[in-house]
């Protein structure tokens, strides 16, 4: 694919994104926003899992930190601008990552996964118990959603789903682009190197814990952005977003979409959203369907859909060569 066709395809995609809410209506616009939030969440987790080789069972806490950060800030500060509220969500997730990083970057892969489960449950319990801050089981809801704009010049109402859709697309698209760019930089090479052979990275003169720490902050912060958009989108955030099940969701999406590839988790998020939409029409047992599909994927294409695509491609090329 040359550069020109690539740009044309991106252009077509952009036009698709712009006309999407006009064509599909409010319901499917909201479904699409849910999908992109899930996509950003799983891409962030995949920065750790697929690129750096660290599995985390507790990334919902960063999602929750972002969501609670934004929600609490909006509930308490009057007239807080929209972008600042997202930034506060991002920063609360980064702060949480900064606190945990010195400990977790020195752990082995298994310990890393387990300690995240523990911290994740701790955050969940804290959100339930610290009722006067987090609202406990009821969560925080009904906080004002600020308009987007410059005071006195223009202002766009963000309670309108179509407007919010454009806003969410812009923020999530931008964050996804940054994450994609990072995987292409020399630092991205380092991440993949740690996944493949951490000892070698050390013996090439790179500092392991520091490098892992930076990846950790990036992944945590971007989960926070996903959480922040989620809070604005739902106008409600409850302790469930911190629950361990919510940490598993991105991992399942990554597994189904394709671990180790950048676009795999996005594909996985898309598949999960579509499955959720389709199955709820017939049954309430969405988890059952998703679980069965996950088992099938792990048994037959352990590298997910993207892995399966590459498998078919090499097979096709081989047949062509023969």
């Amino acid at each position: 694919m040359n550069k020109k066709t690539k740009w044309i395809l991106w252009g077509v995609f952009l036009i698709f994104l712009i006309v999407y809410p006009l064509v599909f209506g409010i319901y499917y616009t909201n479904v699409f926003v849910t999908f992109t939030i899930a996509a950003l969440f799983s891409v962030s987790v995949n920065m750790l899992l697929g690129f750096t080789g660290f599995l985390s069972f507790g990334h919902a806490m960063f999602f929750g930190a972002g969501a609670y950060g934004t929600a609490i800030a909006l509930a308490h500060i009057k007239g807080l601008p929209l972008l600042i509220s997202v930034f506060i969500g991002f920063m609360s997730a980064v702060l949480l990552a900064l606190i945990l990083a010195p400990l977790v970057v020195r752990l082995s892969v298994t310990a890393f996964a387990m300690i995240h489960m523990a911290f994740g449950m701790l955050m969940y319990t804290l959100a339930l118990k610290l009722r006067n801050i987090t609202g406990g089981e009821d969560g925080i809801g009904g906080f004002p959603i600020p308009s987007f704009g410059v005071p006195g010049i223009f202002s766009i109402d963000m309670t309108d789903p179509t407007n919010f859709y454009y806003f969410a697309m812009a923020i999530i698209g931008f964050t996804l682009w940054i994450l994609w760019f990072i995987t292409k930089t020399p630092f991205g090479c380092l991440m993949v190197g740690i996944r493949d052979n951490a000892k070698r990275i050390d013996y090439l003169g790179f500092k392991l814990p520091q490098t892992k720490g930076v990846v950790y902050l990036i992944a945590g912060g971007c989960c926070g952005i996903a959480g922040s958009i989620f809070a604005l989108f739902q106008n409600l955030i409850s302790a469930y977003e911190l629950h361990i099940m919510h940490s598993f969701t991105p991992i399942m999406m990554i597994m189904v979409g394709g671990v180790g590839s950048y676009f795999g988790p996005i594909l996985g998020a898309g598949i999960f959203t579509m499955l959720g939409e389709l199955t709820t029409r017939y049954t309430e047992r969405v988890e059952l369907v998703i679980g069965l599909i996950l088992i099938a994927v792990i048994m037959y294409f352990p590298l997910g859909c993207i892995g399966f695509y590459h498998y078919l491609k090499t097979k096709y090329l081989k047949r062509k060569a023969a």
Binding site: F181, C189, G205, T211
Partner: protein
């Protein structure tokens, strides 16, 4: 001048003294081989020098600096390269990406999140030049796991050398290689380490005697003899402990 020195280094693995009062001296510019039977402590000595372990007793000096407690990345930044007994490359990365990692390290590019690596022309050029020098340009885009054993091994050796170290520590570079591959690898080592201080652990006596300027013989964690290949070949203690076992 000694570029690398260990002073009375001992290392204790929970009661097993793998090294006992080892005084190793490596002169600048020489090719120094460390030989000895299995379990003599050769790799432990390497691990102590390159920063994997802190020795239980004794000190390590590199370029006159006390590096006893230095970590592997510190040693690499001071100018040391190392290869491992069990091949240690990045299996899922291509040969090109493997070498590029070393080139990035050499240039001190560690936290660059703002530039696409594919667009950094000088890095690509340097990496390609290295691949050409080690005859891997044909396998440029193959993952390291798809390379033959010998080629993967050369890839590792040249990775250790691509950070442009002053001293190279090679842990059995020809381990597990066929006769032909050994020959190629020895030529590669000879060519790439030209003018660099090299410390090499080796089992193949032909390789040792053809490559090394000086030899240190380790036995039960102690230094049995040090000297030029000829002296070592004639040393009775060495013959009894080691060479004698491999009567031709």
């Amino acid at each position: 001048m000694n570029i690398l020195e260990t002073k009375e280094v001992s290392h204790d693995f929970r009661g097993l003294w793998a090294l006992r009062n080892v005084n190793l001296q490596i002169e600048k510019g020489e090719r120094h081989a460390i030989i000895g039977p299995n379990g003599a402590g050769k790799t432990t000595l390497f691990n102590v020098i390159t920063g994997t372990y802190v020795p239980s007793r004794g000190k390590v000096f590199f370029k006159g600096k006390d590096v006893t407690k230095a970590k592997p990345h510190d040693m690499v930044r001071l100018g040391m390269g190392r290869s491992f007994q069990i091949t240690s490359t990045f299996p899922r990365l291509t040969a090109f990406e493997n070498i590029r990692m070393a080139v990035l390290s050499k240039r001190g590019i560690r936290f660059n999140l703002f530039q696409k690596v594919d667009k950094m022309k000088s890095i690509t050029e340097e990496t390609d030049a290295i691949l050409k020098r080690i005859n891997l340009d044909g396998e440029r885009d193959l993952p390291a796991s798809a390379l033959s054993y010998g080629k993967n091994r050369s890839l590792e050796i040249s990775m250790a050398l691509s950070t442009d170290p002053e001293i190279v520590m090679l842990d059995e570079p020809t381990a597990g290689m066929s006769r032909d591959e050994t020959h190629t690898a020895v030529e590669l080592v000879r060519r790439l380490t030209e003018g660099k201080t090299t410390v090499i652990i080796e089992h193949d006596m032909d390789v040792v005697f053809s490559l090394a300027d000086r030899i240190t013989v380790l036995h039960h964690g102690e230094i049995l003899a040090v000297g030029a290949p000829k002296e070592i070949g004639e040393n009775q203690a060495v013959k009894d402990a080691y060479l004698g076992e491999m009567e031709v």
